[in-house]
Structures are given as C-alpha cells and as structure tokens.
C-alpha cells in the first residue's frame, strides 16, 4: 500500500504525517503518534468511543482514512485543556460522577463539547439525542446528562476552546 503525506492541525499544532493510505485516523493517532487519549471501542463507527473533532465536528476516527484529513483540524481530548487547565466540561464529568470505567469518557466529552458549543442551554432530551452515538455501559447515562446540563448552565469556557 502506498504512503500518503498529509498536513493537519492536531490540537493546535501544525503536523505533517506520512502513513500508508489504508490507515485510519484512529490508527495513526493511537499507534503511530502514541495518543492514548483516543480509545478504540468497536472499530466500525458504532460506539463513538474513538470520537475526535474534525474541523470542530465530532467524528468516529476509526472511519476516517488518513488521506481525508489533509489540511484539516483535528482535536482530541487533550486539545480541550487550555494552558494545562482542565476544561469546565471535564470538571463537570468528574464532579458529577459521569466517568465510571472512563473508557467512553474522552469521546463522550468531545461530542458534548461540540454540542454545547452549538446549543448552549439544552434540555435533557436534547442532550440525550446529542450523545446517542456515544455508547456507555457503566453509568446508565443519567450522570452524563447531569454533567453536560451543568456545564451548559455554567456556560464558561465552552465557546472558546478548540
């Protein structure tokens, strides 16, 4: 398989990456760049665990071939923290008990981040619809919805980062 070379912005940093064209963004991030803040749950775009923000929108990185990201902006969970400060949404997830095993958490927070950016004061039903593509097996979702609702109410920081 031939290699492709792509340029992208990864968590705010310009990067050039060379990789075989069949590799997915998920494989490149995790295996080639060692970014363990992206997790793999199913590898076929169903569970949402591997969510990253591509030009600001949540996508399953397991479905994106590396060639597709040339010239684009990719944000992983680590990219949400500004100047080493934990993002308010991350604080809300921690303090509301929204992370149990924590495996779905990075993808869930990124989906919630993009959603709150566009829908600052959502209802619980709207939150549930927004995160329906991110599976969680531990929490039963109630505390995740609590955390997102609280972060939405507090508002601070949601609009700026990323």
């Amino acid at each position: 398989m031939r290699d492709v070379q792509v340029r992208l912005t990864l968590n705010g940093e310009e990067r050039r990456i060379r990789a075989p064209a069949h590799r997915t963004l998920l494989q490149v991030l995790r295996d080639d760049l060692g970014m363990t803040d992206v997790k793999e749950g199913c590898g076929e775009g169903v569970c949402g665990t591997c969510t990253v923000l591509l030009d600001g929108e949540p996508v399953s990185s397991c479905l994106v071939l590396i060639g597709r990201i040339d010239g684009r902006d990719v944000v992983t969970l680590r990219g949400l923290a500004e100047g080493g400060r934990v993002h308010p949404l991350q604080v809300a997830f921690a303090t509301h008990g929204a992370a149990q095993c924590g495996f779905c958490t990075p993808g869930m927070i990124l989906t919630a981040y993009a959603f709150l950016r566009d829908h600052p004061r959502p209802t619980r039903e709207e939150i549930r619809r927004a995160i329906a593509g991110n599976l969680c097996r531990c929490t039963g979702y109630t505390k995740i919805v609590d955390a997102i609702a609280a972060a939405g109410r507090d508002g601070g920081g949601i609009r700026d980062a990323g």
Partner: protein, 789 residues
C-alpha cells in the same frame, strides 16, 4: 461492639437517601460523626479519566513489542484433522506460531467445590488451545505473535486447519435427550441442583390459585466498551509479567499452571478496567500473552477486536424457567415450584455455580412455606456462558416477579400489597435453609420505589397506553461461605502524614479503589486526597481476591478498615503522649492528632515520634468472611452466602398499541446498601445496573443460528443508547446493617435484577398482555397484542 454505635436497622432507624427528598442524619462509627465516609466525593480516578490519563490494557507500550492474535474455529462442532503452520512461520516478521502441541499444560481448571446434587464432583476443564476437537464457533485454535498487528492477521490467514465438521447440539433440552451428540465424553448434563423445603405438592393443593407459566430469557453479552487487552513481558528478574484488563489478578496462578512455571514466577498487574461486569472474571488474553511472551522472550500485546469479543467470549446463560406458584385467596404465597434449565455452551466455566445462585434465590425475597427448585445446566455447541453481573440470581427475578404479579392479578389484589404481605424479614429463612441475619429491606424498598413514581402520566397519543410495574429482588454479596473467602490490605502513614493503601483490588470502574481511600481517610484522620491507593499487582499488593460477586467493597473494604484501625491503635498512644492526653481522648482529624481541649499536633510530627520510638507506622489487615461447610441442599440446607442485598424497582412505561414499541417513561431503583460509603458511586452502580437491566428487558440478544453468532457487531448487538432509556432515579436506603465496612452491603450486581420483570409487569398493566420471553421487542409485544395475526 464497644465504641461502635450502629444505628438500629428497624423502624425509623432506616434512613433514606434520594428521591430528591432524602437527607441523611449523622451516624457514629466509631463514636463520632463520620467525616469522609458517606460523602459523595469526586473519585480520584475520575480526574485521570476525564483527562484520558488512565492507561488501560491496550494503552500500554513496551520497546520491541510484538502483537499477538488468535486463530479461531469457524465451526461450532468439528474435529481438527490437521494444522499446517509452515507458511505462517515463514512469513517475515512472524516471531511465533503456537498450537495446542506448544502449550506445556494445555488445560485450565476451575474447581467447583461443594458439588452439585446429581452430577458429582466437577472439575471444569478448558483447553487453552483446541487440541483435536472444537466445540464452539470462535474457539481458539492457534496463536501468532508478529512485528505488527497487520502481519499477525496475515499470519493467521496462512495457517491451514483441516476441519471435519461433526453434528452439534444447540439447545439444552435437545442436548439432554437420549442420542444427542455428546459435547464432552462424560455427557451433556453439566450440573443439577435441587432445593426442597416443605412439601410443594401439598402446598399447591392448599392454594386457592395456582399460576403456571414458562419464561425464556436470552443470551446477552457484557458489551463493555473496552475490548479484552493486555501486554506481557518477561521481566529482568525472569518473572513473566502480564499487565491486563481483568477482574481477577489471581489468574497469575492459572497462567503459571499452563506454562508449567512456579506460581511465584508469574505476576499479573491489573490495569484500570474499561468495564467488566463478569466478562473479565474468567481468563481472557492472559494465558495467550503468557505463552507468546515466554516463547519469544519479547513483550507481546494482544487486543481483541470488538467482533472477536462478541464472538468468542463467555456470555450470560439463557434460561428456560417453569414456575408454578400457589397462593391463598388473600395473596399469601404457599408454594413455589421452579424448574430451571440453562445452556452452558461448550465449556463449563462457572456454569455450575451460576445455577446454584439461581436455585438459591429462585423463590424470591418472599416467605414461601413449600418450595421445590430443580436447576439443571447442559452443554451445547453454543458459545460458552459464564459469569455476568447478577450471576444466575438475576435471571430468576424475571420468573418470580412475573409470577407474583400474575397471582395478584388473578386474585384481584394490588401487586404492591401482595409483595409486602409476603416479604421476607430479618430472622426469616430462605428455602435453602439460610436464616437472614441482617436487615431485610424488601417492604421499605417496595414502598419507597412505588411512591417515587409520582403522579401517573397521561399517554402521549390516542394509540398509546401507560402502565406501571414493580419488581423486588435479592442478590447475594460475597462468595459462597465454603470458599473461605478472605481479603488483605496494607495501610501505612508516610513520614509526612500522608497515607498509603496497598491492596490487590482490580478497579473495574465502580469506584472500588476510591472507596478504600475514603475508609482509610475516615479512620486515619486525613483528607481522602492525602491517601494514595496502589491496587491490583499480584507481586506487590496484598491479595484481596476478585472484583466479582459483589464482594470487593465488602471484603477489601473490611480489610482496609481492619488495617486502618490497627494502625490507629498503634499511633494513638504516641500522639497522646505528645499531647499529654490519654489515648482514648485523642482524635485524628484533618491531618492532625487532636486533644479534647482542641490542642493539635501534626501527624507528620506523630510519625517522627513513632520513628524515634520504633512504633510501626503500617499495618496489614486481613478480613475473613463468615465461613461454613458445604450444605446438603436436599437435607435442610443451611448458610450459603455471607449475606444478601435487597431492593425494589418501579417502572412507568408507555406501549404503542399500533407497533408494540415500549418506552420507559420513569424508572426508580431502590436498594438497601447498608451504608453508602460514597453515595455518588452507589448511585452510579444503581443507575448503570438498572439501564443494563433495561437493555436486557427490551433490546439485547446474542442471536445464534445453530451455533453461529449473528451478532458480532455493536450495530447488531444493541445495547441501550442515551435515547433508549430515561433517567434512573436512585433511592438509597441505609439500614446500617450490612456485613461490609460501616455496615455497608454490596451493590455492584443487585440493580440489574429487577428491570425486566418491572417492565413486563408495567406492560401488562398498560395493555393487558403478559410477555414471557426476552427481550420484549416491539415484534414480541405486537404479537402478544394480536397485531401480527
């Protein structure tokens, strides 16, 4: 016990929490208000998890690491004629190709002590790699280690296995018929349990009404988000080390047996687990990793794909349950006759024990004078079944809670009242002969859950009906008493007054480690942030046993409490001397030792003094659970488990009478947890368990077609999304009367029991039909409504 004023567990001593109104009153253990235990503190691991700093099994990298992969049988039943690995071995970049011949001791054993009543002593045997026969689709046949995951996959494709398909059997009833193909030479009946209490035929004759019904529940998968994963390497000291996602670090012994190594030359480090639910209780990747790392002398990583995880790992037992329930006109239960038949799939794993849990709890949390339970489990060529949250005691809730509702309906009585009338109380005995020694909260939980549903909602459209249902349950916590369970923990002060806890507890995401910090902090007078907890390393942390069986808070919590109390006793006299007070008057609080008049001395100073005087600054605590001999089930029985957790769930559902679709509008889950060490974690367990139970009720099914798994993707194996379920309202009761630390009871498994029956009861309330098969899909409900002709 002096100094321990546990609140009375009866009457108004019962404190409730949740339902938006609950506030807890302070309690005194030991002899002062709790400062840390009982607070909903943010878990230390949550901060790591929200920043994705937690390194799970698949996140670990080692220099020169190889990638392992498993070749699996495509057939559910076949003879292996020949395996040719030569092409795979020759592929550049392949470091090892292993088959059964390369495994020093190709057998994993599970002893099941206190054996079944009919089948005799059982040693559940499992080949690490299939030798001459494959018995289920997905059974491991060969292993590969290669330089990249892609090369490992390529090598698997180059292994040529010549299979001769053989007749299989795929239904436990068929498996037990004469002439059925034997899955194992010793026959297809794996285990049988029988419990008798009173005279069930006499009881049924006495009854004014007898409800007879057969229920079927399906195979489901744990479907945690983290597939099985780990890394193994041979350490500089020659110790085979396996860092793995597991609920059981004690599997180091199994790996040692397989490799023929001394037990002390294998070490298992448990990573924080991305969900377990019983699916990481049996060995997953450990033995494979051990074999490959030992052979290649290089680090090896193995990560199963989602498809592999869904295909080949043990699942929940499907049951066929035949219930005959007899009651008097006033709703008093007089007889319960239960026949259970379960499918073990191709290997025994923990099936015999799962059926024992089911048999012991099959009559539910009710007083029934005449009970007969027969529980059987058979081998088939389906994927194996084993441990999953609820472990047999959850399937039967679907049976006994559907039955009691129908008894009430048949008699024209209120299902809530019929339950309350028959509810077990402290001092009553279960049909197996075990007397309940701690508070039994069935009636309170029932009342609280039902009340919390609030006013009934109106249907959202003309073709929709709203109904309500309730279901109670009991679930053991702690292991069977003749397993002589124990847990140990080391607790110490550092010289600066911070605290370290070391214990071999795997943390599966339920807050296992964090709750231990709270317990140590409580006793040792420091903030929980000043406690570091090191867990789950079979070489370096005192063993605490498995994170299974709703035992970890109960067992390791008691071990940490024991160690912390010992340590407190050791340092108090030293602190007292510094404060010129008597040890009995000195308290430890806020990082200081405090005299009754408020004078304080920092714990760091106390530790310096301990060092100067040679007073130990650490202690090892060992907690031994109540132990007993195996009971004779058919001769009066006796104590089987240390204790049980009780609860009740209430559901309000809406049924679409045109499509059969069921939506859950409100859901309340109430359990007596004895004492909520961390109420936030307890709520999380209850909410997560209830939703997993709702998935079982409405959505989930591993579909098998003559042994072939048709649901090996999360697109076909459906677990609840955020849109499929409502908020779960937890109601926490704290009787203070459990056997765990500070009177806690276990809460990991119990909440998964009631949802299926609560929803089925609500459906009947809404539309008058009784669903007897899970999951209750729109199609099944539509069929029951007569919509499908």
């Amino acid at each position: 016990m002096p100094g321990e004023a546990r609140s009375a567990p009866s009457g108004d001593g019962m404190r409730g929490r949740g339902g938006r109104s609950g506030r807890r009153s302070p309690v005194t253990v030991p002899a002062r208000p709790l400062r840390v235990v009982g607070r909903p503190i943010t878990r230390h691991d949550a901060w790591d998890k929200v920043q994705a700093r937690t390194l799970y099994g698949a996140d670990w990298h080692m220099p020169g690491m190889l990638h392992g992969a498993v070749l699996r049988s495509p057939y559910p039943a076949a003879r292996i004629r020949h395996i040719d690995t030569s092409a795979a071995r020759l592929l550049p970049g392949v470091a090892a190709v292993l088959t059964a011949r390369d495994v020093p001791r190709n057998t994993l054993w599970t002893d099941v002590p206190g054996q079944t009543t009919a089948v005799g002593p059982l040693r559940a045997r499992l080949h690490v790699l299939a030798d001459e026969v494959v018995r289920y689709q997905g059974e491991p046949v060969a292993l590969v280690a290669a330089e990249t995951p892609e090369l490992a996959q390529e090598a698997l494709e180059l292994i040529r296995v010549e299979y001769e398909p053989t007749p299989g059997v795929f239904d436990p009833e068929e498996a037990l018929r004469p002439g059925a193909p034997p899955v194992h030479p010793e026959g297809n009946l794996l285990a049988r349990w029988r419990i008798r209490c009173g005279d069930v035929e006499e009881g049924l004759r006495e009854a004014d009404v007898v409800v007879e019904q057969t229920y079927r529940c399906q195979v489901v998968d744990h479907a945690y988000l983290e597939p099985e994963a780990g890394v193994a390497w041979v350490d500089a000291d020659g110790v085979l080390t396996i860092r793995v996602s597991t609920q059981v670090i004690e599997h180091y012994r199994d790996v040692a047996e397989v490799l023929g190594l001394p037990h002390n030359k294998v070490r298992v480090i448990g990573a924080y687990v991305g969900g377990g639910f019983g699916g990481k209780e049996d060995v997953t990747v450990e033995a494979f990793l051990g074999l490959l790392a030992w052979r290649t002398r290089r680090p090896v990583r193995m990560v199963w794909s989602r498809q592999e995880s869904l295909l080949a790992r043990p699942k929940r037992h499907p049951f066929v349950m035949r219930y005959r329930t007899g009651a008097r006109r006033d709703g008093t239960l007089v007889a319960q006759q239960v026949e259970l038949l379960a499918d073990s799939g191709a290997y025994a794993y923990l099936s015999a024990l799962v059926l024992m849990y089911a048999a012991v709890t099959a009559a539910g949390p009710y007083r029934v004078p005449h009970v007969e339970v027969t529980a059987r489990v058979a081998y088939t060529n389906n994927p194996p079944t084993s441990a999953m949250r609820g472990f047999g005691a959850m399937q039967v809730v679907w049976g006994y809670e559907s039955q009691i509702d129908q008894v009430a309906r048949r008699l024209g009585l209120d299902p809530v009242e019929v339950r309350a009338r028959n509810a077990l109380h402290k001092g009553d005995a279960l049909p197996v002969g075990q007397r309940l020694e701690t508070h039994v909260a069935v009636s309170e939980a029932l009342e609280r859950a039902w009340a919390a549903l609030g006013p009934r909602r109106a249907p959202s459209g003309p073709h929709r009906r709203v109904g309500r249902g309730v279901a109670c349950n009991l679930q053991p916590y702690g292991r069977i008493v003749w397993l002589h369970d124990w847990a140990s923990a080391w607790v110490g002060y550092e010289m600066d007054g911070t605290v370290v806890v070391r214990t071999g507890v795997p943390d599966v995401g339920g807050g296992q480690a964090s709750s231990l910090c709270q317990i140590a902090a409580e006793v040792l007078g420091v903030d929980p942030e000043r406690v570091s907890v090191h867990i789950a390393d079979s070489a370096l942390t005192p063993l605490a046993g498995t994170t299974t069986a709703t035992r970890q808070l109960y067992m390791s919590g008691n071990a940490v409490l024991e160690a912390a109390r010992q340590l407190r006793q050791q340092v108090l006299p030293v602190a007292a001397a510094l404060l010129e007070a008597s040890p009995a008057q000195v308290d430890l609080e806020g990082g200081d030792a405090v005299a009754p008049d408020g004078r304080r001395v920092a714990l760091a100073r106390v530790m310096q003094e301990c060092a100067r005087l040679g007073v130990p600054r650490s202690a090892l605590g060992v907690y031994r659970a109540p132990a007993g001999d195996p009971v004779e089930f058919e001769r009066g029985g006796g104590r089987v488990f240390p204790d049980y957790t009780f609860g009740a769930h209430a559901a309000e559902v809406e049924v679409d009478t045109e499509t059969g679709a069921v939506s859950v509008l409100r859901y309340v889950a109430c359990h007596d947890v004895g004492r909520a060490i961390n109420p936030q974690s307890v709520e999380g367990q209850i909410q997560g368990g209830a939703v997993m139970g709702l998935g079982y009720a409405l959505l989930e099914e591993v579909v098998l077609d003559r042994g072939t798994n048709l649901t090996t993707s999360l697109a076909s194996y459906l677990i609840p999304t955020a849109e499929d379920v409502p908020d779960v309202e937890p109601v926490i009761l704290e009787s203070g009367d459990g056997q765990g630390p500070f009177g806690a009871r276990g809460i990991g498994e119990p909440p998964i029991g009631p949802p299926a029956a609560a929803v089925a009861n609500a459906i009947e309330d809404a539309v008058g039909v009784r669903i007897t098969e899970l999951p209750m899909t729109p199609e099944r409900v539509a069929r029951a409504l007569g919509l499908l002709g």
